[in-house]
Symmetry: none
């Protein structure tokens, strides 16, 4: 039924070429004309493929210079590498603190009414769950996702996504402690208030405190 579009194949071939030739970020792709003859397609098709790769963020094409590789799709390796690490929790906390504090600050500067609504919705869901005796894990995730969206930084968002798996583990552990969900809810309220008040410094501080509180439990749990 659906014939594969040529530019898709070409984009795939270029991606493979990047992977198999150990290309690193910043390296240049061969010229369009060369790619065209080498892959047996027209330059227009190469151009389409590059548009697709550009929209995805894999390359950036510069007039008069060439197509530069930006994203080496090597991101999954990081999570694996950390996973292999035995005492990884402190590192996750550090990274989370670095990213989320900044994200909270940016969110305080850039949040729109829609973002605030989404954040409130997450808080409501969390509160309902906690009052019902739950841990509020889902609301927690929604909240952090909403804040990250409000920060409006693809790069930071991407990095958070990278460590999201690892964070999830600590989140579940932390919220398993008695009394934790209620404290956590209060933390989140403080963060939300600072974001609503458009106070970057307060938002960053509140997020930092929150992450650190999680860290206490995590480290306790790490001793065994």
């Amino acid at each position: 039924m659906q014939r594969p579009r040529l530019y898709e194949q070409v984009a795939g071939q270029i991606t493979e070429w990047i992977a198999s030739n150990d290309i690193r970020s910043g390296d240049r792709l061969p010229p369009e004309r060369e790619l065209a003859t080498q892959l047996g397609v027209s330059r227009a098709t190469i151009s389409q493929a590059l548009v697709a790769l550009e929209v995805v963020g894999a390359v950036v094409v510069r007039h008069g210079d060439g197509a530069i590789v930006t994203d080496v799709a090597g991101t999954p390796r990081i999570v694996e590498a950390i996973r292999a690490h035995a005492n990884r929790l402190p590192e996750i906390i550090d990274a989370r603190d670095a990213l989320e504090s900044k994200i909270a600050a940016l969110a305080a500067q850039r949040r729109t009414d829609e973002h605030l609504a989404r954040i409130d919705a997450a808080l409501d869901a969390m509160e309902a769950d906690v009052l019902a005796g739950g841990r509020g894990v889902e609301g927690d995730e929604l909240f952090h996702a909403a804040v990250t969206a409000a920060a409006a930084s693809d790069l930071l968002s991407k990095m958070m996504q990278e460590i999201s798996e690892l964070v999830l583990e600590t989140r579940i552990e932390s919220l398993g402690q008695p009394g934790r969900p209620r404290e956590s809810l209060a933390d989140h309220r403080r963060i939300a208030d600072a974001i609503r008040a458009a106070d970057p410094a307060a938002a960053a501080r509140a997020m930092h405190d929150h992450v650190m509180r999680v860290s206490d439990v995590a480290i306790l749990h790490d001793d065994e």
Copy 2:
């Protein structure tokens, strides 16, 4: 400086057209040939724009039939998404600030004498280069690498490595400004002093100030 790519404009115009004409999911766009004459561009460019819109999931193009609109809700964001790469400089700054400020703070807590020696060596190299009229790019890189090492966090270190290529661009641009290398050297001294004094807050602040100073130049350079 950054010329807007034609296909981006076209994609934007098509998106606007979709929004303003109350197009719903499933409706068909005008034929490529018509769009081409109407927007005053070639069919090849229309095709590129459609590829971009297809990649972001706004439309699906069917051979012999036409381009069908799939996503009405997300249309306003599409142009943003496509243009995201154009001005990614601010994003790089944000990410760098988030990571390096934390790294500096951790370095202040964890630095050993060896780390301090390595940091000093980088400063010396930078000073020598700057006094000789150079930009001190190498020393700059060595310094940040040394601080990152002192922070002793594999995860943060790997994340910095991911954006290192992007950071390098801004670094070179920034240090190309007159008077920049000297200011930069002073910045680095302040950071090193805070790390030596084992003062995490001061180190983070100094690093933050430094990154922000770079950002000013970068944004200036981004204007046209």
